[in-house]
Amino acid sequence: MSTAGFLLFLVSAVLAIVGAVITVASMRPLRAAMGLLLHVVALSALYLTLNAHLLAVLQLLIYAGAVVVLFVFVILLLGPAGEFAGDSEKLIGRVMGGCSAGAVLLLTAFSLSRHDAEFGPVGADYGTVEGLGNALYRGAMAPFEMVSITLLVAVVGAVAISRVRTAREKASDAADAEARKLANAGGSN
């Protein structure tokens, strides 16, 4: 790897870690969302160092363009209630959980960094739109189509979960309950 490539790896690795730490540690959700944005952009630069051009673009489009914006919309929708300061309750158990997770992960990182394999040369179409498109449409056509169904179901589910019942629906439910009560009273008499 060239010196420029090494520098790109180093700078974007540091930025990705800083962004993730800002996301996790910040008390205000909007600041956390900005940390997530930094993390995502740095990660997309890291994908470039792995010759994954199409996925770097997709990462920017989907995460920076859609997911972070969705988070910011929800933060704006919730308003001040989105920031709550009750994180200090029952702190000991949570800190112990966090520390054990951190210890396991540090050990994993150390042992994985011993594992070494050189990055060989890549073909001309590795990770490009053409190469990945061929791999996707020739080798994974059915799963690719199923992803569209998954996204459709997710959109319909999100709408169904988060929508408010209209006044007319509430009134008709109340009328149904009233009619059922009357019928029950008539049956018991």
Binding site: F9, L55, R94, Y126, A154
Partner: protein, 102 residues
């Protein structure tokens, strides 16, 4: 300087660890959803790093593509659940989510 797969794997697990620590220690549902995104991102990154060693096929990148798509769906549904939970409880604190507990 030479960067091999070891450095990439170490970075992936550090990022996953930061996400896991955040998920276990924070109680704000918004931030917990963001930490889930961090963990999913680090997994995609690891798939790409392994694929870079075995460049004969691009299965790792195809799999990373699917993980990104499913993560987008997960974010949409998770935020919808967050909003409907907020409507019931007027809070985004996960410790108060005990409707199915008692």
């Amino acid at each position: 300087m030479d960067v091999g797969i070891g450095e990439y794997l170490a970075l992936c697990s550090i990022l996953f660890g930061i996400g896991a620590i955040g998920f276990l220690t924070r109680r704000n549902m918004l931030i917990q959803l963001m930490t889930i995104e961090i963990m999913l991102n680090s997994v995609v990154f690891m798939l790409l790093a392994f694929n870079r060693v075995h460049t004969g096929s691009q299965a790792g990148q195809v799999f990373g593509f699917f993980v990104i798509a499913v993560a987008a769906a997960e974010a949409a549904v998770g935020l919808a659940i967050l909003i409907s939970y907020f409507r019931i409880k007027n809070s985004v604190e996960t410790d108060k989510a005990d409707l199915l507990k008692h």
